[in-house]
Amino acid sequence: MRVRPGTIVKGLCGTALLFLSGCNRHQSALSPFGDDAARIQVMTVVLVAGAVVIGIAVAALMVWAVRLPANRLTLVGGERFILIAGGIVPSAVLLALLIYSLPAMRPRDVSPGDLNVAVTGEQFWWRVRYEPPGATPLTDANEIRIPVGRTVRLRLLGGDVIHSFWIPGLAGKVDMIPGRENTLVVRATRPGVFRGQCTEFCGLSHALMAFDVVAMPPEAFDAWLAGQQAAPARAAAPGQALFAQHGCGGCHTIRGTEHAGTIGPDLTRMGARRSLGAGTLPPSEANIASFIRHPEHHKPGVRMPAFPHMPEREAMAIARYLKALR
């Protein structure tokens, strides 16, 4: 009988509930939405089951050993016991495990027609660039959208320091190392909104470097990408002038305007994002305004300069402007 991974998750979550905790389903290796994570979850079940059996067996042997009267085990018998229980059985089990695990290391094949997404880790946010074959690339930040059921090749690049790219529900993690390019090939199996996070310690706000992952039905994804590639029309807003006046465009890009800075995250779709500051805050206007004036309060060590002297009113105007960008 095959155990369905879902049952296992329920079981594990049940255990977790004992600790008065709700199980998150959007950033968990135990709640996969991609092929690789699902495969690893099955492997996890196998490994845990094996570990439990072996652990109980060793514990039972220890109890037996302590209770056994003296001299019932002879020298020869004891050495044979060590050789079999300590040497031969583990060798066989481990060799089997090795043979079981090796094929699972083979990466998924990619074809030239697959979507590439380049992601660069920066302190403490994610630069995202969609590179659909035969179309213009599209730059975004702190959110990754992928089509369900299609193979996607993630090109993981190092920015300033080492980061690690981990979407537990989709696949295992891969480091982003300055000077190197790593590849992670994934395929999502069900739509939904999920979360990923940096897992290599990268400085003060390492804990606050997450991103949203949106797995979309393929048609919806195609429509979204095409819509984004068309140059958006921008209506004038009071915040726009303030954005320019405070020099925000020196670091941030808003497509369709003169702002084309590349030091910080691209803000073209700011209003559509599900979080602010790479998964740090809910994206309310008040939070945006507060982040502009005192980014370091929300993200220690953030590279964005603070604007403490900016009047609250102006910050709110910029926030409203950004919130309207989609």
Binding site: F19, S21, G22, C23, S28, A29, A37, M43, T44, V48, A51, I54, G55, V58, A59, L61, M62, A65, V66, L68, P69, A70, R72, L73, L75, G78, F81, I82, L83, A85, G86, G87, P90, L94, L95, L97, L98, S101, M105, R106, L156, G158, D160, V161, I162, S164, W166, P168, K173, I177, P178, G179, R195, Q197, E200, F201, C202, H206, G279, P300
Partner: protein, 837 residues
């Protein structure tokens, strides 16, 4: 001496008085710290490491408090990062490794029936270095300047001076200093095990603790130097801007990860094996029988030592290396489970075959085995590459490593504490408090770390100072925090137990009825170590050799006297422990403390960029060390002395029979390993870059080959000097040594001329930086060669080296062999590899 001479109580008392006088400890309030006796230095060492452990534990409690609830703001990100960096670094470098060295310094001479370790002053130097370095590193947190890059300090986060402050330098230089003292301890312990065993203690009779110590000390020789090489590159980048890890200038951050983990994974076994070694001593005692499967334990220790050097990349499974490379290391990571399992089953078999006395130490031992097995099983899981891609750098790994370290190091040390406390103090600890503490520790450890397996897989990365409520990890984290406090209460109970010890009465000698030599120790402290050095015929002499204790106590074995008022111990042969010589041991002295202060000064002053002061401290250190060396290998007042039973042993040995020769050999092995680490860097860059070495960047072959020729000539001169010296031609020897020194100095000039003439600017690109680094490393060794040759010359002129007493010349020759090895590899690589590639 007649066979019955020892029957005379008056004679015995006179001998004891002479021994007591020879081993008289310094008692002044200041001079007492100059003591070198292993009993005292070892205990200071243990207490200091224990204090550092408590400090690091408090840091962990603060972290757990911060993580008790989501979005907590008890401590900020900056403080939190310092906390976890210092917690990990201190537990590894200031507790686990030093504690093993400390325990071994206390136990090893007792286990081997030796009066002391072969180099007591080196032990003292190691201790003072450890204290200075430890206080320097840990103290930094009170100035908000502690390292904050995680205990493996990955560049470029830690090498970029705009992203990391003084803390990174404190970590690198402070801990490098401690690594040097660890290597010193390794030298001491290897020579101790190989050369200072009691007569008759052949390899097959060695206590298993000694086997483990030998294996672990050898592992230190090969594991620590790559990290020292990494530290050198790291500080060159931080202080001088030489780009080894900066990808923009041709470096690669992965080089550090390789060098760090070549150290870091064997390190896990370096701290695990000695703790397991304690089991190998106490399990036979509480099973009241010989350990079953002695060769299996030796197999396990040696096998683990080898395999542990094939695991380092399993810390790098997520770095995007080719899967085939990962697979090799995954396979080795699986294979290392086999020897580890074998030793556990050897213990189980011993318990099964024996009559088990379920004492407090045994309770700790079985409890730690249970915890360790869980950690080992999760270790197998993370050795499976695809699973590790999920678990890596999450709380799952935090759980795994703490199960391994608590079950494999901390709890076994507590077992050892309860077992060996009577050996050191003559008093037992409380069974009631001990058992209370045990259950608190067990409950605390499991409550803290078991939930972490889940929180890791449920998306909690390690090293986060907070986590959002929406991840649903609040309950698991609260449980972990509660467990941490429970664990802390357990440790507190142990501390209370220790504090109450002075109020308790002494117990009888050998209270556990153990069979091994160390339990000859008397409840009343005597500094001479052992009354007479026994002849060993079995593995458990107290159990199996008739009248053994009485014969030792009555001085009926070897060396029962100190006729010349000197501290002495017996040197034996490696395989069969045949007596070879009696050596005189170092006495209390200020030199080790001064050496520790001045060497420490080099590291600490460099941290603050006080380069001239650091140079001054280095010159002072050189002076102190030369002064210290000057006192060694002294020519005895008579060639031989009787040690009882008609045996007469020389008082002076040179070459491979002498502990000093082995010390040089072992130190140079470590040195050569560090050099291999640097050389690995050169070829590593060759593999990652297609334009390395850059075409026609130089240096041209001429100067490197000239440097090699000069070094080879110096080597030749030294060898000829040794040979003519042996034939009594002292004058010619002196000429040759002076010539050798001149050639060594000339090779420095030639070596530096190569990169200098090629105008390689090390701050601009990695190739120039690594070329200069290799060249400087080698010429510094040539400088040391010149100093050694001149030292030999001075010793000869002072009459301290003669044709019949030529230890110095032999040791200098040995150094020259390693010098030639380094020079060949460096100069051929620098001069010829660019042409080949």
């Amino acid at each position: 001496m007649s066979l019955h001479a020892q029957d005379d109580p008056a004679l015995r008392e006179a001998q004891e008085a002479r021994l007591r006088a020879a081993w008289q400890r310094p008692t002044g309030w200041l001079t007492r710290w100059t003591d070198t006796n292993n009993n005292r230095v070892g205990v200071w060492y243990v207490l200091t490491a224990f204090a550092f452990m408590l400090f690091a534990g408090v840091l962990a409690l603060i972290m757990r408090t911060q993580l008790a609830v989501p979005d907590n703001d008890l401590v900020g990100a900056s403080t939190f990062n310092q906390l976890f960096t210092l917690h990990g670094s201190a537990m590894m470098f200031l507790f686990a490794v030093p504690m093993f060295e400390a325990v071994s310094i206390v136990l090893l001479p007792q286990l081997l029936g030796a009066r002391d370790l072969p180099f007591p002053r080196l032990s003292a130097f190691g201790y003072w270095s450890f204290l200075i370095g430890g206080v320097f590193v840990l103290g930094s947190i009170f100035f908000d300047a502690a390292p904050d890059g995680g205990w493996f300090m990955y560049p470029p986060l830690t090498t970029r001076t705009d992203l990391s402050g003084l803390g990174a330098d404190i970590w690198m230089l402070g801990l490098s200093f401690i690594e040097v003292s660890s290597v010193a301890a390794a030298v001491e312990l290897i020579v101790g095990v190989l050369k200072c065993r009691p007569p008759g203690m052949r390899l097959n009779l060695m206590p298993l603790y000694a086997w483990y110590i030998l294996v672990v000390a050898v592992m230190i020789l090969f594991a620590f130097p790559p990290l020292i090489a990494g530290d050198i590159l790291f500080e060159m980048e931080r202080l001088l801007g030489w780009p080894f890890f900066d990808a923009a200038k041709g470096g690669d951050p992965l080089l550090w990860q390789h060098l760090f983990w070549i150290f870091g994974h064997p390190e896990v076994y370096i701290i695990f094996l000695p703790s397991i070694a304690l089991f190998a001593m106490l399990i036979p005692t509480f099973s009241q029988r010989h350990l079953l499967g002695y060769p299996y334990i030796v197999l396990a220790a040696v096998g683990t030592a080898f395999l542990s050097f094939g695991l380092w990349v399993h810390h790098m499974f997520a770095t995007g290396l080719p899967k085939i490379s990962l697979a090799f290391f995954s396979a080795a990571s699986q294979a290392v489970v086999i020897p580890t399992g074998i030793q556990i089953f050897a213990f189980i078999a011993t318990l099964a075959a024996g009559r088990v006395i379920f004492s407090t130490p045994l309770l700790y031992a079985t409890g730690s085995l249970a915890i360790f097995v869980i950690g080992g099983l999760t270790g197998v899981m993370v050795a499976v590459v695809p699973f590790d891609w999920q678990a890596h750098d999450t709380y799952f790994v935090v759980a795994h490593l703490h199960y391994v370290l608590i079950g494999g190091t901390l709890m076994p040390l507590f077992a050892g504490l309860y077992y060996y406390w009577p050996l050191v103090t003559g008093k037992k600890l409380s069974d009631r408090l001990g058992r209370t503490a045990f259950w608190l520790l067990m409950a605390g450890a499991n409550l803290t770390f078991f939930p972490m397996h889940l929180s890791g897989l449920m998306g909690m990365p390690r090293r986060v100072f907070t986590y959002p409520e929406e991840l649903g990890l609040a309950g698991l984290n609260l449980a972990s925090t509660a467990g941490a406090y429970l664990f802390a209460v357990g440790v507190l109970v142990i501390v209370i137990d220790l504090a109450l010890s002075p109020t308790r009465a002494k117990v009888k000698r050998n209270p556990w009825n153990a069979g091994t030599l160390e339990w000859l120790a008397l409840p009343e402290d005597e500094d001479w170590g052992i009354r007479s050095v026994p002849l060993i015929e079995t593995r458990y002499p107290i159990w199996d050799q008739p009248n053994f204790v009485r014969k030792v106590d009555e001085g009926r074995f070897f060396l029962p006297d100190a006729e010349e008022g000197r501290r002495e111990t017996i040197v034996t042969s490696v395989l069969d422990a045949r007596p070879v010589a009696v050596i005189r041991l170092g006495t209390p002295s200020w030199l080790p403390i001064l050496a520790a202060i001045t060497v420490g000064g080099v590291f600490i002053l460099t941290t603050y960029h006080l380069y001239w002061a650091a140079l001054g401290s280095g010159i002072l250190a050189l002076g102190v060390i030369l002064r210290w060396l000057w006192t060694t290998a002294e020519i005895p007042e008579k060639p031989c002395k009787p040690i009882g039973h008609g045996l007469e042993l020389p008082l002076y040995v040179a070459g491979p029979a002498a502990p000093g020769w082995w010390a040089v050999f072992i130190t140079m092995l470590a040195d050569a390993t560090a050099f291999s680490g640097l050389l690995f860097g050169y070829y590593f860059f060759w593999t990652v870059h297609s334009d390395f070495p850059p075409p026609s960047a130089g240096p041209a072959p001429t100067w490197p080959i000239a440097a090699l020729a000069l070094t080879a000539a110096s080597w030749g001169a030294t060898i000829i000097a040794r040979e003519v010296h042996r034939r009594g031609r002292v004058g010619l020897t002196r000429v040759l040594l002076a010539l050798g020194a001149a050639l060594s100095l000339a090779s420095i000039a030639a070596g530096l001329a190569g990169p200098w003439q090629a105008q390689l600017d090390p701050a601009t690109n990695t190739y120039a930086a690594i070329v200069w680094t290799l060249a400087i490393w080698t010429v510094v060794h040539s400088a040391v060669a010149a100093i050694a040759q001149l030292y030999g010359l001075a010793r000869s002129l002072a009459g301290r080296t003669t044709p019949s007493h030529d230890a110095d010349v032999r040791n200098i020759t040995l150094y020259q062999h390693f010098m030639l090895f380094t020079a060949v590899l460096t100069w051929l690589t620098l001069g010829l590899f660019p042409e080949v590639a």
